[in-house]
């Protein structure tokens, strides 16, 4: 064996008394099969001769280098180094090598790393992205499988492995609440990161569920580092507002502990802490950190396995469960550092985590330190129960879903079909203006060919009273689990739920930056505090009109009660329907007439385009004819993809000077037809679209409206941030403020459809130059006549 010459395949072949080709087949496991006896002979020969295949030559010939690339934002971050270690373990077991690159949270450096990995012909590329869109296209073009870790871009086709950050944060916050804390702060990571947004969402949901504050004074954003955590903690201590804090990154938590030590804050007595990640390091801090542990080995296993298949249109997305590892920093009295192992291996997978009662906390000392978070599992089981139709669970059914939103549901429905292969869904798209009349006509004749219907919530009472819609109150508890209270309220009539809400809505003041600059108008501020008044807005609009804007101002939804109700109510008017069961019209009031004159002037002065239909409005704004434009968030992606890209901004909806701020709310829901012959399957689809985070995320990011599904909401905000980061910097906060403080829903009434029809017509007549007083009086009479039938 001490031959000076390198042993070659020929030598092995001679030794094994076979051909060189057969040796090759054995080494490469193919392409032809080799008889077991021959195979053993070759293997023995390799052993005796000391033959080593040339890895570089193999890479050149076979296109496999045996090297996997991993790019992380910061190798010194304990979580990323633990993740790298777990992946390396996995890769090593397969006899391959891991190349690790450190992008240092820099997109440019990330791009260079990826390029050089591709040049080195890695077999697969794993990465934790820095920004929204990591430059992995190059790798995909080279046919290299790509897997996103930790921070996923759900909207790309790239496979991903992430953990359930939302549930993790909610679970940790619940735990702090169970300890009796009421003011629970969060130290969050950079808000453009998927993980941060999700964890903030979970924190917020848990607080809202208990009616606890989640205001700005409890929120600090900091980079994922010890220094970041330290500074954030000092800021938080200075405010003196929090008695507990959720720190969304372990490195930050070490900084927080240091800051606490430096300022004499005792953890957990003065400040309870729970953090994220759960690497071994968190066990040895003082006090040991209670943490939301990520199952690193599981993540690594999924990641390496996904890195074997090429990126395709429908790549897999894996979401791993997290678990709460209780130690002392949260206030639990656990004396000994007991879990000296990788957290995942200790996990008691069978247990269900529950916020412990107060008595429990002091007692818990020994086993069951880690309980697996099976909230998600429970939800899954629940939907699985619902999935089995009572009659025949496996029978193939085709259901029809009628909606006005073209392209919004396609992806979600395809995913639903994948989960429920026996349910086929046909989507029928009807125009927005006709869907109400069409469903009315078809359900009125007990048409069985509609199973699921999209409904604008104020219309639910009327449809429900007529017996068109299935009462789905049995799902109320599930709705409360995953949807916002406002969303559930929008589908509730007489204490029953008649649909599953999908989104909520709001209106904003969009503006054309170039037209404003041209007129020398300062752009309106984007936050709630700098909200403009209507006078301010229309004065600026008039000024823009004199300097080149064809129109100064426009409502996207022309003559729509939805868009105009906030203006009327801000001017001090009523909703227009009042009295018992909202069946008494009240539109002939002084405030309504004031509004009528205001609305008429808007068009007679030429400030707004008279005679342009709602459907043509977006184009008018996009082609630069309008300076100020009131529309909903559904417009965001559309604007950014138009010629107006980056030349638009958005600000809060104006209010009447001296009046209160009022914003619109509520959006479409999906309901199950009472005449459907496949109600179980139909309800399953409605559930999926509303209650499942995946379904809700998909439709809300397609339609750009915020989901009422709390788990989908952070993903939606993250998506919007990726579309137009600058313009929407304040969007999430503003939306929350509007929803919590300013939103007024349209009146709930069996006569709402009549009301809306008649009032919208009155608005149209006023816009066209009729006398507002006379028109409102006539409409009031018509309404009285029309609504009297319901009394």
């Amino acid at each position: 064996m001490t031959s000076p010459r390198r042993v070659t395949r020929q030598d092995v072949a001679r030794e094994a008394r076979t051909s060189a080709a057969v040796v090759s087949y054995v080494i490469n496991n193919g392409p032809r099969s080799v008889a077991p006896a021959t195979r053993q002979r070759v293997l023995d020969a390799i052993e005796r001769t000391g033959y080593r295949p040339n890895a570089i030559a193999q890479a050149l010939a076979g296109g496999r280098s045996g090297v996997l690339g991993l790019v992380v934002p910061d190798v010194s971050n304990s979580f990323f180094s633990a993740l790298a270690k777990a992946i390396e373990d996995e890769v090593f077991q397969e006899g391959r090598v891991l190349l690790v690159g450190n992008s240092a949270e820099s997109a440019a450096r990330e791009a260079r790393l990826i390029t050089s990995f591709v040049e080195r012909q890695v077999d697969g590329l794993l990465y934790v992205g820095v920004g929204h869109h990591a430059p992995v296209q190059e790798a995909i073009r080279a046919g290299i499988p790509v897997v996103a870790l930790d921070r996923r871009d759900r909207f790309s086709s790239i496979a991903s492995v992430v953990v359930d950050n939302f549930d993790g944060a909610a679970m940790a916050t619940d735990h702090l609440i169970a300890h009796g804390h009421r003011r629970i702060a969060i130290i969050a990571g950079p808000s453009h990161l998927f993980t941060s947004v999700e964890r903030i969402g979970g924190w917020r949901k848990a607080l809202k569920a208990q009616g606890l504050p989640d205001d700005e004074s409890l929120f600090v954003e900091a980079p994922f580092s010890r220094a970041g955590g330290y500074e954030a903690a000092i800021k938080l201590f200075a405010r003196g507002t929090a008695d507990a804090v959720l720190v969304t990154d372990e490195m930050q938590a070490f900084g927080v502990l240091a800051a606490a030590a430096d300022t004499g804050v005792e953890v957990p007595r003065d400040l309870a802490i729970i953090t994220f990640d759960g690497t071994e390091q968190s066990m040895y801090s003082v006090p040991p950190l209670t943490t939301v542990g990520q199952p690193l080995a599981e993540i690594a296993r999924h990641a390496v396995s996904l890195a074997r298949t090429r990126t395709t249109e429908r790549s897999r997305h894996v979401v791993c469960d997290v678990e709460l590892i209780r130690r002392r920093s949260c206030g639990c009295t656990i004396q000994i550092r007991e879990n000296h192992q990788v957290p995942t291996e200790l996990a008691d997978k069978g247990g269900t985590w529950r916020p412990p009662s107060k008595e429990d906390l002091t007692m818990t000392k020994s086993v069951g330190l880690i309980a697996s978070a099976s909230l998600a599992a429970a939800a899954l089981a629940l939907s699985a129960c619902g999935a089995s139709p009572s009659d025949d669970p496996n029978a193939d059914v085709t259901i029809t879903f009628v909606a006005p939103h073209k392209g919004v549901f396609d992806e979600a429905v395809a995913a639903f079909h994948e989960e429920h292969p026996n349910i086929k869904v046909e989507i029928q798209i009807l125009p927005f203006t006709e869907i109400a009349a069409q469903t009315q006509a078809r359900l009125g004749s007990k048409d069985t060919s509609i199973d699921v219907i999209a409904v604008d919530p104020p219309r639910l009472p009327s449809l429900a009273t007529k017996g068109f819609l299935k009462d789905v109150s049995a799902d109320q508890a599930n709705m409360k689990d995953s949807l916002t209270a406002g969303g559930i309220a929008s589908v509730t009539w007489d204490g029953h739920q008649y649909g599953y809400p999908l989104w909520t809505s709001d209106n904003f003041l969009f503006y054309n930056k170039s037209l404003l600059a041209q007129a020398g108008i300062a752009e309106p501020g984007a936050d709630n505090a700098s909200r403009w008044t209507w006078d301010q807005t229309l004065t600026a609009a008039a000024k823009a009109k004199t300097t080149g804007a064809q129109y100064g101002f426009a409502f996207e939804q022309v003559d729509a009660y939805y868009a105009l109700q906030p203006v009327i109510m801000s001017m001090g008017g009523g909703a227009g329907l009042e009295g018992e069961r909202n069946l008494t019209p009240a539109i002939d009031t002084e405030q309504w007439r004031t509004f009528g004159t205001w609305y008429a002037d808007l068009y007679s002065s030429g400030l707004s385009p008279r005679g342009v239909a709602s459907a043509q409005m977006p184009d008018l704004f996009k082609n630069g004819s309008v300076a100020f434009y009131v529309a909903g968030p559904a417009r965001i992606t559309d604007l950014q993809n138009s010629g107006l890209a980056d030349k638009w901004g958005m600000a809060p909806l104006p209010y009447a000077a001296g009046g209160k701020v009022v914003t619109p709310t509520d959006s479409w829901a999906v309901a199950v037809s009472n005449f459907s012959e496949h109600q179980t399957a139909a309800q399953e689809l409605a559930r999926y679209l509303s209650l499942s985070a995946d379904g809700a995320t998909s439709t809300s990011t397609k339609f750009n409206l915020p989901p009422v599904n709390q788990k989908a909401y952070p993903k939606y905000i993250h998506y919007i941030d990726g579309v137009a980061s600058k313009q929407t910097a304040q969007y999430g906060t503003l939306l929350t403020t509007d929803t919590d403080e300013h939103a007024i829903r349209r009146p709930s009434s069996v006569g709402y459809i009549d009301f809306e029809t008649i009032v919208n017509k009155a608005f149209a007549d006023i816009r066209n130059g009729g006398d507002p007083g006379k028109i409102l009086a006539t409409a009031q009479d018509t309404l009285k006549r029309q609504l009297s039938q319901y009394k």
Binding site: A436, A437, Q438, Q440, A441, G444, S462, K466, Q550, P609, R610, G611, V612, A613, Q616, I753, D754, T757, K761, A764, D765, R767, N768, G769, G770, I775, D781, T782, R785, Q786, Q789
Partner: protein
Amino acid sequence: MVTQANPRPGPITGRSGPSGSPSASRGRARSRARLRAVATAALFLLPALVGLVFLRLVPSFDAVVSSFTNRLGELSTANFTFLFTDPQFLGSLKTTLLFSLVINPLQIALALFLAVALTRRVPLVGIWRTLILLPIAVPQTVSAIVWGVLFRPDGPLNGLLGALGIPSVPWLVSPTTALMSIIILCSWVGVGYWMTFLVAGIHEIPRSLYEASDLDGATGWKQFLHITLPGIRRPLLFVLVADTVANFLVFAPVRILTQGGPEGSTNLIMNFIFERAYTLSDTGSSAAATVVLVGIVIAVVTVQFRMLPGKD
């Protein structure tokens, strides 16, 4: 009907039997032949009759019944009482009658003028006729949307008027001009279609009549009055009746462009019926309005038949 529609196999009915007198057997054969013809006819008519019964008569009967049924399901005239005290219905009735009074003479006169003009020796006559007929091939919704853009206050029509120095017209956004705009749109669609029937009628008139009258020194106007007009009496009657009915039933442009506004000025009766039935889900009064509409149409058409003389 179904039982009659059972034709016997040919050999048995087609041949006279060896027994019986020749004349009797001939008579029997004739009646059998007639029976067979009736049966065949019935068989061919069956699909149409079934369609007529189930798609026309049954729904019509249904509509009449529901027009006389109140919300509690009792027989009553409440729907009609409601209608004839409803300012909106009365308004839409008035609007519909005004619309018919203007649009029918206008469309027929235009169609007649174009028909006469395009049966003269005009260069490229085929192309002109095709262009005039083309709008009928465009779906009504599409033409309504196109005209919606044309009619916009900042749209191309006003642009054209502006270029000619004419002040712009508010078209669909003013109660004084909206109905006129709908009339323009409907005529753009309809005139070419009605013209086609009249063109065919004019071609039926023997050329010799014109030649003879030429020799007698008749002018073009006289020829039109005494030859063309009487010659196309039958197609003209058809156009008059069909156009009147069609214009009572105008719906899509109104629904798409104005929804009956501004201030009810274009609220044609079909739009009223649709809105009551499908937006406000008041089937009773919409059925009643439909019955009223059918009554009006039958009355008007009857008068038209009477007005045009000629038994054939």
